[in-house]
Structures are given as C-alpha cells and as structure tokens.
C-alpha cells in the first residue's frame, strides 16, 4: 500500500515544489537575495565614512616654532586637501558658516611658549556641527596630529554635539567587528522566518493547501518539505555573511567552524518552527509577513544584539533565553572574536536544540490543527 506515514517519493515531490516556489516567487526571491546584497552595500559604504579630502582653516596667532610645526604637519596630512590661513577669529567663523571648511584651528599667542615650558599646548578647534559625524572624525585626526607636537586641541562649543576627544578609537572598525557576526544571525533569522511564514500562507491563497491536505501526505512530511528550503537558504546566507566577515572585512575568526555550522543549522531549524507556526495561523501572505516582522523585530531587540541582555529587567532576561537568536549571537560573536572554547559553545548550543525541538513540534501541532 502506498499509504505509509512516511514516503520519500511524496517528500521529494513536495521538496521540489517548495524550492521552485521560493525561487520563482518574486516576494520570496526578494527575501532571499536583496537583504544580503543590501547589507554588503551598506557596509561597503560605511567603510568610506573615514574623512578624506577636507579643508581646514587655521588662525595662527603664535609666531613660535611649535605652531609652525603644527601647521606644517597639517599641510602634509593626507586627509587635508588645503590648509586655509586666516587673520581673524571672525574669518574662522565665516568660513565654517559658509561650509568652506569642516573645521578651523585657532592657535593662541602663547602656544609655543607653553610647550617650550614643558606644558601641553592648547589650540582651539571649531567644528562644523552640521556635519557632526565627519566633524567628530576630523577632530580625532586633528588631535592625533596635535598630540605629536605636544599639544591638545580643545573643541569649541560651536559644535552642537558634545565632542568627545579622548576616548576616540577608530569607530568604523569596532562597529563592523561587532556588527557583522551579529548580522549573520539576523539575516539567517529573517530569511528563514519569511520563507517559512510565506510558504503555507501562499498555498492557502492559491487554494493548493487543501489540495495538499486531501492527498495522503502526512503532517511531518509537510513540515519537513517546508523546512528544508528555508534551512538550505538560511544556512547559505549565514555562511555568506561569515565569509564576508572573514574575507571582506578581515574580522579574525578564532573559533571552531564546525561548531558554528552546527549551531547555525540548529538556530535556523528553531526559526523555521516559528515561521511555520506563523504561516499556519495566517490566512494571507500579507498577514504572514506582518506576523514574521511582529515576531522577528522584538526578537532581535531582545536578543542582546543592540543592548546587552544583562542590562534588561529580570523578566525580559528570562524571555530572552527563549529567543534562539540570543544563544546564536553568543556563539557567533564568540567564534569570531573570542576564540570561544567548545565547552562554552555547547553551553549555548543545547538551549538552541531544545528551542528547535519545541518550535518544530508546535509547528506540527499548528499545521495539524488546521484540520480540525
């Protein structure tokens, strides 16, 4: 009899159908291909946040050696195109106001004398607050140069944002080192969530879900056939982001790749379960997409990606433990930067396995529930 509870022929037919549906559906295709490309573009763009080709105004009231030295160094600094010399404080303000320069340096009369006396020379820097980001970076560069001549630059209050100088540390690099591993998890989360939440809803809109339910195929077969494409695509996306992190952004990968792969698979499986639950209760694809975002966005916010889990109220901390992304983030960030030992990875891996088992079981119950 061809009515066993499990049949590879039926599973294969459904798997092919699912893969074709994902690849041929413009909505699913967008979910699969657009975010990773967009992320890459965003980060390629972020890399150019470094300040280049700016003009600086200098009002040098000091005729001494050290101020001369400082101006010389500014002249030869690669990020500065022109150093514009002015004769009054008023002109400095003018040039900033007109946007001709991004920053202006006012060197006081006693600058060289102070340094010669062994103190730290002080020069005032005015920054165009309208370009606060580049301005901050420029100040950082200026202070590095100033430090070389034994001086300090003091930002002026004209900048509307407080400019922190001393704690400066290349922000782009840190930001990326932190964010790219995390993105691996988020990309995999949303692609798997959207692909699976669309899958049943799409069939319901077409009316083919009834057709599937009247066939002898069993609920586990439906779940498996709908999980596999999402699993494959989610894993590939995750790997794509990991390799982009390693090869494109040069983030040191210090952990175990095998363990990371295993946790990626478990992570996506747990997300697939959630996606299928959303899909089982959605009547339309629109509802499914809304549902996916309603679940996905809070999950990201509570996962520790943006704010550390330890800083949350205790109830939210418990809830965060039920979010698969929380555990995966620990593993993926640890694998990249901390050379996380296998024991620590396993400590976060088993909760993922438990969540995956729970969500997939619930998805099966939900789908079966459609038959009631």
């Amino acid at each position: 009899m061809l009515t066993s509870a499990f049949s590879f022929t039926r599973l294969r037919a459904q798997f092919i159908k699912e893969v074709l549906s994902v690849l041929r559906d413009p909505r699913s295709r967008m979910v699969v291909f657009v975010p990773p490309i967009l992320q890459l573009l965003v980060f390629a763009f972020a890399a150019t946040l470094e300040v280049r080709n700016v003009d600086i105004a200098v009002y040098n009231q000091d005729a001494g050696r050290w101020s001369h030295e400082l101006v010389q160094r500014l002249d030869s600094a690669r990020f500065i195109t022109h150093v514009r010399h002015v004769d009054s404080q008023w002109q400095l303000h003018e040039m900033i106001d007109r946007g001709e320069v991004i920053a202006a340096l006012a060197i006081p009369v006693d600058f060289s004398r102070t340094i010669a006396a062994g103190d730290s020379g002080r020069a005032q820097v005015l920054v165009d607050g309208r370009r606060s980001n580049s301005g901050q970076i420029t100040v950082a560069y200026l202070s590095t140069i100033a430090a070389d001549v034994g001086a300090e630059v003091v930002p002026d209050a004209q900048a509307p944002t407080p400019v922190v100088v001393r704690h400066w540390f290349n922000p782009n690099l840190v930001y990326r080192w932190f964010i790219v591993p995390g993105l691996t998890g988020i990309l995999a989360l949303f692609s798997a969530l959207l692909i699976t939440s669309l899958s049943i809803a799409r069939e319901r809109e077409l009316g083919t879900f009834d057709q599937l339910l009247v066939s002898p195929t069993s609920t586990p077969e439906i779940i498996i056939s709908k999980s596999l494409p999402a699993l494959a695509i989610g894993t590939l996306l995750g790997l794509f982001m990991i390799s982009a992190g390693v090869f494109l952004f040069g983030i040191p990968f210090t952990g175990s790749f095998v363990l990371l792969l295993a946790s990626l698979v478990l992570f996506i499986l747990s997300v697939v379960g959630i996606g299928l639950m959303i899909s089982a209760v959605s009547m339309t694809q629109q509802q499914a997409i809304l549902g996916a975002f309603a679940i996905g966005v809070p999950a990201v916010l509570m996962s520790g990606f943006a704010t550390p889990v330890e800083n949350m109220p205790i109830v939210l901390q418990w809830m965060a433990q039920a979010i698969p992304l929380t555990h995966f983030l620990i593993i993926v960030e640890g694998s990249f930067l901390k050379a996380m030992p296998p024991g620590d990875v396993l400590a976060s891996l088993w909760p993922l396995a438990v969540i995956a088992l729970a969500t997939l079981t619930m998805a099966t119950v939900f789908v079966r529930g459609r038959l009631q």
């Binding site: 009899m1 061809l2 009515t3 066993s4 509870a5 049949s7 022929t9 039926r10 294969r12 037919a13 459904q14 092919i16 159908k17 074709l20 549906s21 041929r24 559906d25 077409l206 009316g207 083919t208 009834d210 057709q211 599937l212 339910l213 009247v214 066939s215 002898p216 195929t217 069993s218 038959l371 009631q372």
Partner: protein, 590 residues
Amino acid sequence: MQANAAMAATPTSAVAAAAVVIEGVDKHFGKVQALRSLSAHIHYGRLTGLVGPDGAGKTTLMRILTGLLVPNAGRVTLAGYDVVRDNDAIHVASGYMPQRFGLYEDLSVMENMRLYARLRGMDADRNADLFAELLDFTRLGPFTKRLAGKLSGGMKQKLGLACALMARPKVLLLDEPGVGVDPVSRQDLWRMVQALTDEGMAVVWSTAYLDEAERCESVLLLNQGQLLFDGPPQQLTAQLEGRSFRLENVGAERRAVLTEALDLESVSDGVIQGAGVRVVLRGGAQASQIQALADRAQVALAPVPARFEDAFIDLLGGGPGGTSQLAERLSPVELGSQIAVSCRNLTKRFGEFTATDQVSFEVRKGEIFGLLGPNGAGKSTTFKMLCGLLKPTAGEAHVVGHDLRRATGAAKSRLGYMAQKFSLYGLLSVQQNLEFSAGVYGLEGNTRRERIAEMIETFDLGEWLSATPDSLPLGHKQRLALACSLMHRPPVLFLDEPTSGVDPITRREFWTHINGLARKGVTIMVTTHFMDEAEYCDRVAMLSRARLIALDTPDALKRAAANVEHPDPTMEDAFIHLVESADREMEAAA
C-alpha cells in the same frame, strides 16, 4: 465624424429615451483586447442583462459606464452625460454595485448605509424615511446592528443594493449580483430589481448565468469583448425554435445516450436533465439521426422549448463532442463493496454554531452525487468532512470502506479532489504541476512517467508544458486541474464547485469527462451553484440550516415541488420549494 453621422441617422426620440448610449467603444489592457468596437443602447424602465462567460468584458464595460475606466476609442453617454467629460455628473446619475462586496465589513449595516449617504453628500440624520424605506425594501430591517462582514452572501448583496440606491440613481449598474447567492436570495434580488424598473429606472444586471439572462427584458450578449447579440432574449431563442428535443426517461442509460447523441453529426449540444437527455440540433439539421437513437434506446423523443443557453452555445458553434478521451483510457473501477462513500450522523460544531447536524447518507459506486443548499447551509462543511479536510465533531465518514478518522492516509489515497478556482501551483510550470501531483500521491518510476505522459496526451497539454497554469486558456486550465486530481486513478472524485466562473462550453467539456468517468465506475461527489448541473447528478442531497432536508433523484425532487402554479418546475423551483418548506417546518416546530 462617422459617429456624428450615425447619431443623426437614428431618430432623435430613440436617443433621448436611451439611458445609456454606447458608440464604438474599444478598450484594451496592454495586448489584451477587453472590448472591441461595441455599440448598444440601454433603455429606461427596463432590465437589461449584460450576459457572457467570464472574461467576456462585462466588468470592463460596467466600469466604463460608471466612469471608472476611460475607453481607448468610442464614447459613452449615461443619462445624457458623457462618462469621460461629465465624470462628476455620472456619479450622481448612476448607482454602481461592484462584483466584490464594496462595503465595509467592520461596520454594521446601519453604519454602512449612513456612510454611503454621507459620501453622497446627504445628511444621514435627515433621511430617516429613506433609510426605513430602503431597509424595508431590502428586508434588512431586523439586521441593522449586524456587522456587514457577518452577513450571508445574499444579505450582503441586498445591503450593497441599498447603498447603491441611496441617491436614487437614474441608472443602476449591478455587476454579477447573483454570484455566491443562493436561489432563495436571488429571487429576492429579482423582486427588488423588478420594482425598480417599474418605477422607470434603467437597471443593468451583468451575469455569467445564462438562465438569469432569460429573465431580463433585453440582453447584451458578450463574448471575448464582442457583442454577439442585442435584443430581447426571446428573439434569440426564437431562432432555435424546433431544434431542441428531449429524450424522455432514458434512466440508467442516459450517460451512454448523451455520449452517443453528442457524437452525432447533427447534434450541436446536449445535457442531462434528470432522467432525460436534452439535445440541440445544428442549424438546418434533421431530427432523423436523433430519432433513430431514440428508437434504439426505446425512449420517446419530444420537442422542448429552446433556452437562451442553447442559443448561446449555438452562436459559439456548438459544444464539444461526447466521448471523453480520459474515460476511454481508464479501466473500470473495481471496488470491494457497492458503497463508495458513506457517512453516519455526521456532525460538525464550531463553538456554539452547528454547521452540519446529524447528516447520514450512502453513495453507491459509480454514482454522481450532488450536495446542494443555500449559502451557509453546511454543504461545504459536510463536503470537507467527507474528503478529510475537516474532522467531524461527532459521527463518522467512510471513503471506499476506510474510516476517515482512523485510516486517514488510506482513505485519502483513494480519493481525488478538485476545488473551485482549480488550485494549481501558479509558480510552477504545467509539467512541474503534473510531476508534483504524481509525486505527492506516491507514484514512482515508470508508473509515474507513463501516467504523466498519458495525461499530457489525453488532455492535449503537450504544447503548454513549460507555461504557467495562469497563462493557460480557461479550458486547458480546467483540464490540467482534472489531470492533477486524477493522476492516481482514484475511485472517488470530489468536486467542490468545479465549474464556477467557467464558460458554458468549458463546462460542457468538463461534464463530458465526468460522465465518462462515472460510466467507468468512478464515484463523483459534487457541490454546485448551477441548478442545471444538479440535473447531471444521479441523486441530490439538499441541505438547509445544517440538516439534510431531502435526498432523491433530481426528477423526484422536481416532481415533489410541482403544483398548480408550476406544473413543470425547474431544479431551481424545486430548490426554493424545499428550502422554504423546511424553514416553515422549523418555525412551526419552534
């Protein structure tokens, strides 16, 4: 210039009397020609039917008349206003009820009416009289507080009508008001429209049901964007006088007789009517061949009055032949028992609401069994329980001896299912759809390849294999859906409103296959809104308010409804009679 000349040629009085004047209207969407040089007049005080199969251009024309679409060529005036230039005046002069419920489902009946009144610039508080009148007219008075989304199909249409009538339009445009409405509610709608035309309003009723066309005073018959006929329906049917016949009381052999009749050269169209077979001869053909067939089958041949549908099919060049290639290839179905489908005390409750209440019946092997009932009577709930889409709250259902509760897989592998709207994977090609349905029923290796090849050949799908189902012509789409549901040779086939939204020619082809399958012993379970399709059934189960109120052959049901007023009732009359008498009994009991 030409149009002006034509205008001058028509008597001015006729133009003045016309509510709508359509002159040489063309409309295309991209490459699709929706309307081709259409010219017609619609008059006041008359019910004009806009008739044609799906995709004929009815909705496009409606939307042009209401000024929602601009024609590519030609001009239209409504109540004297040009629909393009005097667009604002059109909205006042016309009332439009769109095909899909154009009301707010989350507002109550009264809130919807007040909203529409305000949209029309009326003071909702000052028009209490008008509201009362409309509520009385539509008999919605008791339901003013109910949410529009919770109304039945028929009540929604009535509310839509009330809103369209709000500003007392001169021309009322109703786009397929009969769709999804059971015969009882439909009768109500007819009554209301009749009252409106008596007051002098011009009413346009678009429909794909050809039996509705017969009730209109004048008809515009559209097919593929072209006007095939303009005039009173009787005029068209009169052309077919003397060409319609019925083979009376053919009985068990009626399917074989129909097949033979349709294969005759002189017969252009034929359908089953209860125990009889109704045929239409080709233009100029003699009745000798059909008489010979009647003699062979030893049945009487009687002339019957022509119907509008006969004329329509004739205009399109006749229906398909009678032999189903599909059934020819099928080997007869062998079953252990003579009962293919059975249910006992089948009950389904959704919370407090009982959708199906203690329904029991048995369906014999090779029978075509129809489930009929008004909207919300529980026929689709019952149907879904029988094919395993819903679990019954109580009672049991068996398919080919397998209990649907316990041996779900075994039962499901023995049934085929075809839903309305064809339920095909739009993202997959025709070939991939066929591969999928073979695979999901566990067909492997050679069997699978042979079956798919066979289906492609039988249904002539060869040249469409890499196309998507949505790009197929309607007829081919239906064939593909049938091919997919029959891939695993099920002894029982479930058809859920299989022909809704399908033109009469495609419907005929479909029934040719179904008849062929039944002759091979395949049991057919079917739900339908088309009363003439109920005539194809061996037996019909009539459901009303969740209960089985009648179960008999179509002829017996019609006989039971016969009275002095209707000596020869139609299936629709029988339906209304049964539902109304069941309601009366219920009320008497309560």
